[in-house]
């Protein structure tokens, strides 16, 4: 009954929180935080359990099933953790905002829908929860008003296209196999024709590709993630796009199955190859677009697309190393990206809504905790050792090189260089350098903002030093799909896959730090300087006249920006404009003149008779 209880709690609390908001803001806040924490607890209880529950016995003649297994649990706990931290963060962020009631309640509804999606034991429930997730997220994005409206519209229309494609695949499967329960479908697919498998892969792949923002289906993401309210941006980037990844895992490893998947296509033109090259493009191009952004949240949004590219790259290989890397990276990205969005949200909250990177700077001393944690998350995105980003990237690189794909490995490497650039830009422009005059009054973030940021930072550190915790779960998941077992130890990986021991790395880092510290101590004595006492090109900079952060990476962006137009986005806008023109032309059928209408009726009758006379249609 556990999955059902979890869903009832999630959706039920979504309703109650809204009602509580009508009574008193404090009641609402307490209830929202409590219920999101209860959800974390409930899901935590389900670790290692394997359940299957029929929750609606007859929906159009089909059984709707919820099931709990390790894969579902892994994604569910990530979702619940990120949403609960985002809810805690909202306490100060949403205080006294008029849409707070709706924000809390819809966040819980989105969480419920995401949990339903991962717990779904048949494809129909999967689709139902998927759709509920789409429209509730649309409402939640739109609720930030202003430019968020267009972003929300773009998001939901693209989602709708994806879910329509999924619906075709889903029902084609149903008419072909007669079942929708995931294990039975997986069984039935083994005997399916290659064309049918391809139809399923393409239709579902379109839906999942849109949700996970794979290039060229990514165009909704930069708008939606940057325009949504920051706590929800964290949920969007942290876990909602991971639902697309979950879908890919389900599709490729469970429904279609590895054996069949590797057989789709011929020669170089296989599904797998196309997917991994799409993944590589998704890594490289968006990463450099991210470098060009001057809006902090837009930068993070583009970086999300790039990071999703790594996950897709890992998934498309189908080896146990790459798979473990992909799933671990999904977790890593969830932690790092939600932390960064929350950190940017805290800055936005403290500076009165500034998120333009040209306008910030020097906040490190004012918001030290936020800075430290954001630094950690940035390093995690890059994949520096001792953060949770190192092991997954190591796994992905290793399997790329081991399987003999040097170009893909190069693409992944280029992506990491880009990540270094944008992470540095983000951290520098917000936290380092001069403090602009207008931000002199900025104080540290409220406690309810620092707690979730700290917890996420702690997670990044712990999973970085002790990667065995998540790796063990990940490799157990892979094992259920028939992937070879990895030798996971608490500190890394056993020998035959290439030993990896974080303990040694830890030690090395500590020694290096100690050496550097000693060296600096023994050398010249440091001098404490004021934050303004910095220099550029040898001469002192007049305070308030010149700002480092403006036009950061100017030469680089002038060099690469001509190559980085978002052609997919332009194409969709072109398509929409043509669609509108066609719609306007179509409307002219209704002339408003009764004579024409009468003509229509008479010609319809005449056409019917004509058809019969010529072709004997009846």
């Amino acid at each position: 009954m556990l999955p059902t209880t979890i869903l009832i709690v999630a959706f039920g609390s979504a309703g109650f929180v809204y009602l509580a908001g009508r009574v008193h803001a404090r009641v609402r806040d307490t209830l929202a935080v409590l219920s999101s924490l209860v959800l974390v607890g409930l899901i935590g209880l389900g670790y290692g359990a394997w359940r299957e529950v029929v929750y609606v016995p007859d929906f159009l003649g089909l059984e709707l099933v919820l099931r709990l297994n390790l894969l579902a649990w892994f994604f569910a706990i990530t979702v619940a953790a990120v949403v609960s931290l985002s809810t805690i963060f909202s306490l100060s962020y949403m205080r006294r905002k008029e849409s707070a009631n709706f924000h809390y309640s819809a966040t819980l509804a989105v969480e419920g829908a995401m949990l339903g999606t991962v717990f779904a034991g048949d494809l129909l429930s999967f689709f139902i929860f998927w759709e509920i997730m789409s429209w509730s997220a649309y409402l939640l994005i739109s609720c930030n008003r202003g430019r968020a409206l267009e972003a929300g519209l773009k998001y939901i229309i693209m989602s709708l296209v994806g879910s329509c494609a999924m619906l075709i695949g889903l029902l084609a499967m149903y008419s072909g196999l007669g079942v929708l329960s995931i294990p039975l479908v997986a069984e039935g697919m083994q005997a399916a024709s290659p064309g049918f498998v391809l139809l399923v892969l393409l239709t579902f792949g379109l839906g999942f590709g849109i949700k996970s923002a794979m290039v060229p289906l990514h165009t909704w993401l930069p708008d939606a993630h940057s325009e949504a309210a920051s706590p929800f941006s964290a949920v969007l980037s942290g876990v909602l796009i991971k639902m697309g990844i979950y879908g890919f895992v389900l599709l490729m490893y469970v429904v279609v199955g590895l054996k069949l998947l590797l057989g789709v296509g011929a020669g170089w033109l296989t599904f797998r190859h196309i997917l991994c090259w799409l993944g590589a493009i998704t890594v490289v191009v968006p990463t450099f677009i991210a470098v060009l952004q001057s809006d902090a949240k837009r930068l993070l949004a583009w970086s999300s697309i790039g990071q999703i590219g790594y996950i897709i790259l890992g998934l498309s290989f189908g080896t146990s190393l790459a798979f473990a890397g992909a799933i671990f990276h999904a977790l890593n990205h969830a932690l790092c990206k939600s932390l960064l969005f929350l950190a940017v949200g805290a800055v936005e909250h403290n500076t009165g809504g500034v998120r333009d990177l040209n306008d910030l700077g020097g906040l490190a001393k004012r918001m030290p905790v936020t800075f430290a944690c954001a630094l950690l998350a940035g390093l995690g995105l890059i994949g520096i050792p001792l953060t949770s980003g190192f092991v997954p990237k190591w796994l992905i690189y290793r399997s790329l090189i081991e399987d003999g794909y040097p170009f893909l490995a190069l693409a992944a490497l280029i992506g990491t260089w880009g990540a270094i650039l944008y992470v540095y830009k983000l951290l520098h422009n917000i936290f380092l350098g001069q403090l602009p005059e207008k931000h002199r009054e900025v104080r540290r973030a409220p406690l309810s903002m620092r707690i979730p940021i700290l917890l996420l930072g702690l997670g990044i550190l712990v999973f970085g030093v002790v990667p065995g915790i998540p790796l063990r779960a990940v490799q157990d998941i892979g094992h259920t799909f028939g992937l070879a077992q990895l030798k996971v130890t608490l500190w890394g990986l056993g020998s035959e896959a290439g030993a990896l021991n974080m303990l040694n790395i830890c030690l090395a880092v500590v020694i290096a730090f100690a050496a550097a510290f000693l060296l600096l101590r023994l050398g010249a004595k440091g001098r404490a300087v004021d934050q303004e006492d910095s220099y550029a090109a040898g001469s002192a900079v007049p305070v308030g006249r010149y700002h480092y952060t403006v036009d950061f990476y100017g030469p680089l962006s002038r060099m690469i920006s001509p190559y980085l137009r978002d052609r997919a986005d332009e194409f969709y806008y072109w398509l929409a404009a043509r669609g509108r023109e066609i719609a306007d032309l179509t409307r002219k059928v209704y002339t408003g003149y009764a004579g024409t209408y009468v003509l229509y009726i008479v010609s319809f009758l005449a056409a019917l008779i004509f058809l019969q006379l010529v072709w004997h249609i009846w």
Binding site: F127, I132, L171
Partner: protein
């Protein structure tokens, strides 16, 4: 047990009493339609379990079929009369408060006639009687469209009248042909003898009947009256026209096609007409600025989807079509009703003037959102299982052509989603226009007499969306009632 004939007699009789009552005391007349529909609702509910086992053939003049006029209360007929009574009742409750100006007694009387016509159409077993009820429905709707007496209403009513009259005369000519060929007007009797006449001779009356009924059923290109009529009528009438009246026309077309002619061969043509209607309807709605016109065009789109489902001519397809009939009747009347008071408050039908209504009229705006999501086909609302069934029926064929057609149908859904999502955003998240005069907060929300039907409709949409099996138990037999020609003949004429 209630006699099915009372389903027609009670509203018809009360419809005639209203003007008389209105002469003495006008005030109570507005409660009469609701009372009549409560009766119909209760009677249909009582009848439904019985007719599911065996249709009830009612003889009106003491002669067994095929002589004299008779009614057949089968699963489809009673099911649809239940739907008519339900929507009719809710709209009647809405109208109690909504219709205040003008000839109120006449409104209520005509409204009852309209519902009588629709109920009669779905219950009758006689082709000419079908035409009579069809005319009752049409004439009362011509008058009701022009109820406000303003220029737009009168003009669109006149256009509607012209096209409707042509349609009716085509139906009449078709019936004349049929009578000439078979010498009988009982639908079962015609159906029994249909093979005795050459296809060429048969086709002509069919073409006339389909075109004639098709005008009311609003299939392309016979639907040009609809956007005008639905948008300039009072909102309660728009609701009943979109929710019920087109469905009655569609019922007539389906009866003629499936039960009388058993026309599987032209199913593909029906399918194509359905798709064209769907696409043209949705695309015309796409850039509409007038909310009621937009809803009217969206009705055309939905009708197209229903016709598409009928054109699949399979048990599941027809079941899906009936599911859509129910879902569209509930959702579209909900949309028209909830938007009615918004228009009343702002005095404008421009979508941009409805911005920010989510704050001023939260309940109405919420219910509008539910209706819009349901029409797009999002779970957990009734539109989802309905659309799902239709697409399931289309993909059941496992034919690449049908898969491609479903793709085209879903393009319509995306367009539909695009405009509804835009409106929903406008209602809840856009700032109200500058000109909006914020009145006192307690005056803003629609009155209770409007909120009750709106909320009931929204609740029904959610309830059936979550538990579609409450409906599917009845849709299966109803679909068979329409498709299974032999059983229909057997029930009416005996073995």
């Amino acid at each position: 047990m209630v006699n099915p004939i009372l389903l027609i007699a009670v509203p018809l009789g009360l419809g005639f009493i209203i003007p008389l009552l209105g002469l003495i005391w006008e005030k109570p007349t507005r409660y009469v339609p609701a009372a009549a529909m409560v009766f119909n609702l209760a009677a249909s509910l009582l009848l439904l379990p019985k007719v599911l086992q065996r249709p009830w053939v009612v003889e009106t003049a003491g002669l067994p079929p095929p002589f004299s006029i008779h009614l057949v209360a089968g699963p489809l007929g009673v099911g649809l009369s239940l739907l008519i009574a339900l929507v009719g009742l809710l709209v009647a409750i809405y109208a109690i408060g909504y219709v205040r100006e003008g000839p109120v007694a006449k409104y209520h009387s005509l409204y009852l006639f309209l519902l009588t016509g629709a109920t009669g159409m779905v219950l009758t077993a006689d082709l000419f009687n079908l035409f009579v009820f069809f005319e009752i429905l049409c004439i009362s709707s011509y008058a009701l469209v022009a109820y406000h007496g303003d220029r737009a209403g009168t003009e669109s009513s006149a256009k509607y009248l012209i096209q409707g009259a042509i349609g009716s005369s085509l139906v009449l000519i078709g019936i004349g042909f049929v009578y000439g060929l078979f010498g009988t007007l009982s639908m079962a009797d015609i159906a029994r003898n249909i093979d005795s006449v050459s296809p060429m001779k048969l086709f002509l009356p069919m073409a006339f009947l389909i075109t004639g009924f098709g005008v009311e059923a609003a299939v392309l290109p016979l639907n040009a009256w609809l956007p005008d009529a639905h948008s300039s009528a009072p909102s309660s009438i728009s609701a009943i026209l979109s929710g019920i009246a087109i469905k009655a026309g569609l019922y007539a077309v389906a009866r003629v096609l499936f039960t009388i002619y058993g026309a599987d061969t032209i199913a593909l043509l029906v399918l194509v007409i359905g798709i064209l209607t769907l696409l043209v309807g949705e695309m015309s709605a796409f850039s509409q600025n007038n909310i009621k016109r937009l809803l009217a065009y969206s009705s055309i789109g939905q009708i197209g989807l229903i016709v598409f489902a009928l054109g699949l001519a399979s048990a599941l397809g027809v079941q899906g079509a009936l599911f859509l009939v129910v879902s569209h009747a509930l959702a579209k009347s909900l949309l028209f009703l909830s938007v009615g008071y918004m228009i009343y408050r702002t005095g404008s039908m421009e979508i941009s003037s409805l911005y920010g209504m989510g704050r001023r009229m939260p309940v109405s705006a919420l219910c509008f959102t539910i209706g819009a999501f349901s029409l797009v086909g999002l779970p957990p609302f009734i539109g989802f299982p309905a659309k799902f069934t239709v697409i399931m029926a289309a993909l059941e064929r496992a034919d690449p052509l049908f898969t491609a057609l479903v793709g085209v149908v879903l393009v319509g859904t995306v367009v539909e989603g695009a405009y509804f999502f835009r409106i929903v955003q406008g209602l809840h998240f856009r700032p109200p226009p500058e000109s909006a005069t914020p009145a006192r907060a307690d005056q803003e929300e629609a009155p209770v007499s409007a909120l009750v039907p709106i909320c009931l409709l929204a609740a029904l949409i959610v309830a059936v969306g979550v538990y579609p099996s409450v409906l599917t138990h009845y849709l299966g037999p109803a679909a068979r009632d329409l498709l299974d020609k032999a059983a229909y003949i057997h029930h009416v004429l005996g073995p």
